[in-house]
Symmetry: C2
DNA sequence: ACTAGTACCTACCAAAAAGTATGTATCTAT
DNA sequence: ATAGATACATACTTTTTGGTAGGTACTAGT
């Protein structure tokens, strides 16, 4: 009939793909719904949490902060908190975050070229 | 307490992100677990279904064919079936699929550089 | 005492992506 | 008649990602 494995291979497969393919690795780091946009906005300089929120109106605070935490944990983004009240926190790209520029440019170029009349799908 | 919206904004947000960000668009096209690997294997020339399967042992047939269908629908991959028995089907990159090369190269370069001692996470 | 401002946190739920198991068609060779 | 080869299809489940709704802390200003 139908038996299910105790532990799925999902996590395993992630690391297989990560190990086999540096592209998958990169994809894994920038692959959240709003991560490219966040990184893009930070390329022109550090921004405060609230400024990022304003720059990406459709994002919820939960997703914004979740993505920021992940980007920070992945070493792409720096968080700098000033111990004042009300809080003042700025986010900026790290060296490896800035090194993504050529990647993002290549992706943007391809995307702009091949998304003609296709975006509304 | 807890009320739920009739229709979630998930789909809406996808298209917002896609429209705002060509990088997100590109990400959307190559963003399946095994898609980069599939595309990579096709860069050296057309392959049969079974050859792709052998090239990526960890992938299940369901995911392989699902990704191939999506890549085909997205215009990145061509499917050519010979009406013989047993079936003989080859997959190859389209022009836009081949145009991903610089994107994948940039991603691979970044990935290889920044994944040192990090892959085992 | 109360409100405003900033940057979060958390419990819960929904939707999407990935994985498991099994089945199908067709012809050739045995 | 049966098995082998090839390229799928499909029903169902699990895992991950994203969204909703609400709350917190801390101080300054009124």
């Amino acid at each position: 009939m139908y038996e299910t494995k105790e532990s799925s291979t999902n996590q395993l497969n992630i690391s297989i793909a990560l190990n086999k393919c540096p592209v998958t690795y990169t994809l894994h780091k920038i692959g959240g719904r709003w991560k490219p946009l966040i990184i893009y906005h930070l390329t022109s300089g550090p921004l405060r949490y609230g400024e990022l929120k304003k720059a990406i109106p459709a994002i919820t605070e939960k997703m914004l902060i979740q993505h920021l935490k992940e980007l920070e944990a992945d070493g792409l983004v720096n968080r700098k908190a000033m111990p004042v009240v009300p809080p003042h926190v700025t986010y900026s790209l790290t060296t490896s975050g800035e090194a993504l520029a050529p990647v993002l440019n290549a992706m943007a170029a391809w995307g702009m070229h091949y998304s003609k009349a296709d975006v509304l799908e």
